[in-house]
Symmetry: C2
Subunit: 200 residues, 2 copies
């Protein structure tokens, strides 16, 4: 029996921090896991910038409220979930993801949580588990599932390599070149066909 594990940002919806970077005009906030493989370093860097500019959780949430999923993402999830269970495994935070998950048709999301002060300042974050994508794929395999994994970034590669099959989606040229053994897709239709074939 198969289960599909999908990254969210960059795959199903645009990157939250890039949207916030555009909205605020703070270019430093456009760094993502595609540029910086060390997520802790990246998050500390982001929170420092928020603090320096006095931005609160509600400011980021207000930008997120305007983000729309990629065209076809919701339909793709609907069709995929007729083939097997689908879990979105994201390094984002529940306080960010809510409105996006609703727009995607309420798929199941495994993510992390932010620490927020009484005044709305984001003071830190709590990662649910170390190497959450790889750990989650391993946990699902331990209960009898064969996993298919889809992502676009450095932090998705380990779960792809640990899976029956991995799929790079809307990734960068650099990441594709560094992982020539993983198939690269740019359209949901092609991705769905490839995932279907991997389940046969």
């Amino acid at each position: 029996m198969f289960i599909s594990c999908l990254d969210m940002e960059g795959v199903l919806v645009p990157e939250i921090w890039i949207a916030f970077s555009k909205e605020t005009g703070i270019a430093e906030l456009s760094r993502t896991t595609r540029d910086e493989p060390d997520y802790d370093k990246l998050m500390r860097y982001r929170l420092d910038i928020l603090k320096r500019h006095g931005f609160k959780l509600s400011d980021v949430q207000s930008t997120i409220g305007k983000i729309e999923p990629f065209e076809g993402a919701r339909e793709f999830l609907g069709k995929l979930s007729e083939l097997c269970p689908v879990i979105i495994i994201s390094d984002t935070f529940e306080q960010f993801a809510g409105p996006l998950i609703k727009k995607l048709g309420n798929p199941t999301l495994f993510c992390n949580t932010l620490e927020v002060a009484g005044n709305g300042e984001i003071t830190g974050y709590k990662m649910r588990v170390k190497n959450s994508k790889l750990s989650t794929v391993r946990a699902l395999q331990s209960i009898g599932y064969e996993t298919l994994a889809v992502g676009d970034s450095y932090n998705d590669i380990a779960m792809m390599r640990a899976s029956r099959k991995g799929f790079l989606f809307k990734t960068t040229k650099a990441i594709a070149a560094e992982n020539p053994d993983i198939g690269v897709y740019d359209e949901f239709d092609g991705l769905l066909s490839a995932m279907k074939a991997a389940m046969e």
Copy 2:
């Protein structure tokens, strides 16, 4: 961070085999996990009866197509999934569950698979993992989740006892009496309030 693990039959939708028993008039098929704690024994018993009467997968599926979720089940799932991720862990089979899952708003289901011959006869079944409910709860805990577990039957008790909190829902008097330390609920509103309180 919390995740909710729910049994399906008896909790969110009526028991499939009881519906099929009523439809066919075969009283022997009304046995469920509430009566027989040994699921393998129960399934072999059920498949023997199907074979004896010449019933195929499509006959059972046709009955399942007429089953409606319990009143309020879909709304309950919608509200619960705003509080935490929700996984339905069922000992049923993907070939049975499809139409019911659609009527419940497409929640994520972890279940098993039937072996079906070319002529449509159900020849066997493949359980995804041993003790699937308990194993799944343990796997989710291993990736940083605290679990809440809801069920009605003998095969749900182990996942309840392994969870931060368990909830018996629409259960029998016997099961409630044998598990006096587990709260018993009969309405979705009361269950949701109790689960919400357990997450605080």
